[in-house]
């Protein structure tokens, strides 16, 4: 019989079997578990609640049930002792292939039916956020591709073992393995998920790209394994090995199997979404010629020697200031006259517990002999591919008029294609990464000419750091652009008086929000694109773009603009979020002082995609993940200090964290969070009364602090050394979080009592804030605070603090 005829017969049999529809019934109920019972991801947005969580669980369960059905189907023939009759009609290999293809088709029929069953409910619940394209994509990846993977996996195991029980155990083991931690490469697990929330406002293309890649990769591998396993199908009454030897001549199975395995392996090794080069691993030094082509490769040892020999007569301070001490082999300077400068560079204070992330700009004095005067930038975003191509022209002055070595720092995933100096192509060296979150540094020589024009062509595909989290918050998608860095930056060039002009081509629906003092102008272009002309101060711009609604906040002491996703417009108008922002700004202006924002330099409060956990602030940008603004969080009264108050918290960081920085070299837990948490509680006291603030803030801090003190490993520190590195880092994280978010504000609360009450405390804080604004204090240390309160260190110690 012909293949297609047999295929039709098998499909018909499967579709008519009651077992098939019993399994389908079970599979169709599985997404219900994801609505309430099982929560695999942090449910923060409606997309998480009604799409990601239910259908990820549903897809996994559906695939598992299909695997069981597949084993039952494969085993039907030997179980009923029909093999002798059946194999006289059709070969065992052909029968197995037909069964597998029929099951695959059945799996897709199940997928379509389940998608149709849940479509009306999902559409109703996700309302404005619903997109049929996204719904289809989700089902394709989490149902269709997972079903294909699990089916191949099951068929492979059955062919190998020829036993249902052993295959079932094998499938269960592989599922457990797929769901376990894959450390840095967790997105490449065949059942992988992501660590971040799904966005309802700004699309999830970056997640789908990654997961499609990982599923496709594993499909290649499992298809290859399955094809190879067809060789082991028992034939001529032989055992496993004998059957393989008999079937080895079947090149049409062997060759494609090997090719698919090779392709899968190659895709695994060349995965494009995570930068695996760490600071511990000295990457090879790659040298490029004038046209940007790769020339030679030096070993890590060579690179080390190179550095040592070259840095003998150089300013080592520069190396240290630029590269976090031990990091890079290339960021050094040959000239004795050059000292470090990182005026334009950003030091990042990342809070891992979902609070604020403040970008602070250091104002170190620079005496570099190279000065950047102007940068012309041309940026083009290919939102469908998720890439950015750029051409930057730097106007530099080489005051030393001697040859100078220059280093360009790049973002993760940025590749420099060519460098020309005064229209002459120049060679450059690709060096190591200074840290886990930065891209490679590129080094080249500046000629001994005063006025230089350096042109750099580069391409960027945002990548994630190899920190074990699948959290693509830097992304370029058709709905949203959040780049890490737009232009590679010079690490040792004076940029104090630099200006920039930038032409960025974006989809025309996007609103562009630029950081710093800048002007922007939008011009409609062809093919649904728009050109944005930006002019501003600094070496290069930084902007966020997306489908935003712009809301200027009225009746406040300085200009504030709030940008949020279009899907939230109706909801926000109902929640009167403008009032919350007005209340917060009024409170802080009255109690601490007015912020120095102007019409040309307004404070921009920006909603970012849910992929970015927590919030952040930098210059005149204060941005927060979409999850803070979701109706789930905003309406959750049970949580006390709810997301509405987290919004207020992030706004208060404009005062404590941005304008007045809090830091202490001797106490890493002395951070802006203490002041911000305290100020948030005081604001809530003003808005909702003293008992509310006591219940949801002070009591919570006390409880967290008490819990940490009573924690087993705090009570028995001798056991801490017995913990593994992973467990110990988790414990450290718990201690840090409690110290920063609970112990810090509790200290301020204690100080409030000691100085005589809230009014006196407000005066102390206002005084400290003014000192920071007038630059009398570069930042507030714990001692500054103690002195301002006129207290002693011992008075401010909490009970049991020394033990932590």
């Amino acid at each position: 019989m012909k293949f297609m005829k047999l295929f039709q017969v098998e499909c018909k049999r499967l579709l008519q079997a009651p077992t098939t529809w019993f399994f389908f019934l079970l599979a169709s109920f599985c997404p219900l578990l994801g609505y309430k019972a099982i929560s695999y991801i942090a449910v923060a947005t409606v997309t998480d609640q009604y799409l990601a969580n239910p259908f990820w669980i549903g897809g996994l369960a559906c695939s598992f049930l299909l695997s069981i059905l597949a084993l039952y189907t494969y085993h039907r023939v030997p179980k009923n002792q029909m093999e002798h009759i059946l194999y006289s009609v059709v070969s065992p290999v052909k029968l197995h292939v037909i069964q597998t293809f029929s099951l695959f088709l059945l799996g897709w029929i199940w997928t379509i039916l389940i998608a149709l069953i849940y479509l009306p409910y999902t559409k109703t619940m996700t309302a404005n956020s619903f997109s049929l394209k996204e719904y289809g994509t989700f089902f394709f990846i989490f149902y269709g591709m997972t079903i294909a993977l699990m089916l191949m996996m099951t068929a492979f195991l059955y062919n190998l073992t020829n036993h249902v029980d052993a295959s079932a155990i094998g499938v269960a083991l592989l599922v457990l393995l797929g769901l376990s931690s894959w450390k840095q490469l967790s997105y490449l697990s065949y059942l992988s998920f992501v660590d971040c929330c799904f966005s309802s406002d700004f699309g999830n293309d970056s997640i789908y790209r990654m997961l499609s890649y990982s599923r496709f990769l594993w499909l290649c591998i499992f298809c290859g394994m399955w094809l190879m396993s067809l060789l082991s199908i028992r034939t001529r009454e032989k055992k496993w090995l004998g059957s393989i030897l008999c079937n080895l001549c079947k090149g049409y199975l062997l060759v494609p199997g090997l090719l698919l395995l090779g392709a899968g392996g190659l895709l695994f090794l060349k995965q494009p979404y995570i930068e695996l080069d760490g600071i511990e691993n000295y990457a090879e030094l790659e040298t490029y010629d004038e046209s940007g082509n790769y020339v030679e490769s030096q070993t890590s040892d060579a690179s080390k020697n190179y550095v040592e020999s070259e840095t003998n007569d150089t300013s080592k301070n520069n190396v240290e200031s630029q590269t976090n001490d031990e990091s890079d082999s290339n960021t050094y300077d040959e000239s004795d006259t050059v000292a470090g400068s990182d005026t334009d560079h950003v030091s990042e204070d990342v809070d891992t517990s979902g609070g604020m992330m403040a970008y602070t700009y250091s104002d170190k004095e620079t005496s570099s002999s190279q000065t950047l005067t102007h940068t012309d930038i041309d940026l083009h975003f290919d939102c469908h591919k998720g890439t950015m191509t750029g051409n930057a022209t730097f106007s530099l002055e080489n005051l030393s008029e001697t040859e100078q070595e220059c280093t360009l720092s790049t973002a993760l995933g940025c590749e420099i294609q060519s460098i020309t100096i005064n229209d002459i192509p120049t060679s450059f060296i690709k060096g190591n990464k200074p840290d886990l979150y930065s891209g490679n540094n590129f080094t080249f020589i500046l000629p001994a000419t005063k006025n230089l024009t350096v042109r750099i062509a580069y391409k960027q595909t945002p990548k994630m750091a190899a920190d074990g989290l699948v959290n693509p918050f830097c992304e370029i998608t058709p709905e949203y652009i959040f780049p890490t860095t737009l232009v590679p930056g010079f690490t040792d060039v004076n940029t104090d008086s630099a200006t920039y002009s930038c032409n960025a081509t974006l989809p025309k629906e996007m609103e562009l929000i630029v950081e710093g003092i800048a002007t922007k102008q939008k011009q409609a272009n062809q093919k649904g694109l728009a050109s944005w002309q930006l002019h501003g101060e600094g070496a290069s711009p930084f902007f966020i773009a997306g489908n935003y609604v712009k809301l200027p906040i009225q009746n406040v002491d300085f200009p504030v603009v709030f940008y949020y996703g279009k899907n939230h417009q109706e909801e926000f108008e109902k929640l009167n979020i403008e009032q919350l922002l007005q209340d917060t700004i009024h409170y802080c202006c009255d109690h601490y002082g007015v912020l120095p924002f102007t019409e040309e330099y307004p404070l921009n409060i920006v909603m970012t995609s849910a992929h970015m956990m927590g919030g952040a602030a930098g210059s005149n940008l204060s941005y927060m993940g979409e999850s803070f603004f979701s109706s789930i969080n905003l309406n959750d009264q049970q949580r006390g200090a709810n997301a509405r108050e987290v919004i207020a918290h992030e706004i208060i960081h404009q005062w404590w964290g941005m304008q007045a920085f809090i830091m202490d070299d001797e106490d890493c837990c002395w951070t802006p969070e203490a002041f911000t948490c305290y100020a948030t509680s005081r604001l809530m006291e003003d808005l909702y009364g003293k008992s509310y603030a006591e219940k949801y803030y002070v009591e919570k801090w006390q409880k967290d602090y008490q819990n940490l003190q009573n924690h087993f490993y705090m009570q028995h520190p001798q056991y801490q050394s017995l913990l593994s590195t992973f467990d110990y880092s988790q414990l450290e994280n718990l201690i840090d979080t409690t110290n920063v978010y609970s112990m810090g504000p509790l200290k301020l609360k204690l100080a409030e009592q000691l100085v005589g009450g809230e009014e006196q405390m407000d005066a102390v804080l206002q005084n400290l804030f003014e000192k920071c604004q007038s630059m009398e204090l570069p930042y507030i240390t714990e001692q500054d605070f103690i002195d301002a309160c006129n207290l002693s260190e011992t008075q401010l110690q909490l009970e049991g603090e020394n033990a932590l």
Binding site: K79, D165, A166, A168, I169, A172, L173, L176, S180, N707, L708, N710, H711, F712, Y713, H716, Y719, L722, L723, S724, D727, Q730, L731
Partner: protein, 134 residues
């Protein structure tokens, strides 16, 4: 009767399903112990009632699945083939079935003891059984 029980028990114990189950339960116990329990649940000691209860609660579903798989051996192809022979003997069929059930229960109990034994080993090595003299 004793011989039949011993034979049934031996047959189940050296069954590849039992061995595989034992291996899976061991791996899973290790995973749960080191991922969730060793740091203590809600600040309590890793050997507290709450932590131990969490550990048992995490292992239990796997053990139930294991029990189901063990029960399937009653209805395996080999069992059905052997049934023809047993049916021909004069042995009490209900008693024989009870013996088989009992053997399965015993094997299941042995598998259940594995995560418990592992937890006791960890507690002994790290904390020297402190709960014994709490």
């Amino acid at each position: 009767m004793k011989n039949i029980f011993q034979m049934e028990l031996k047959r189940l114990l050296i069954n590849k399903l039992t061995i595989a189950l034992f291996a899976i339960v061991s791996i899973y116990s290790y995973y749960i112990m080191h991922q969730e329990i060793i740091l203590g649940v809600e600040g309590t000691a890793p050997y507290s009632k709450l932590s131990f209860e969490t550990y048992i609660r995490a292992i239990a579903p796997l053990l139930v699945i294991g029990l189901l798989l063990l029960v399937t051996t009653l209805y395996s192809k080999q069992s059905k083939n052997a049934k023809v022979l047993f049916d021909a003997t004069q042995m009490n069929k209900k008693l024989y079935l009870c013996i088989r059930y009992f053997a399965i229960i015993l094997v299941f109990a042995i598998i259940c003891l594995e995560p418990l034994a592992y937890a006791f080993v960890v507690y002994y090595r790290l904390f020297h059984f402190p709960f014994l003299y709490d």
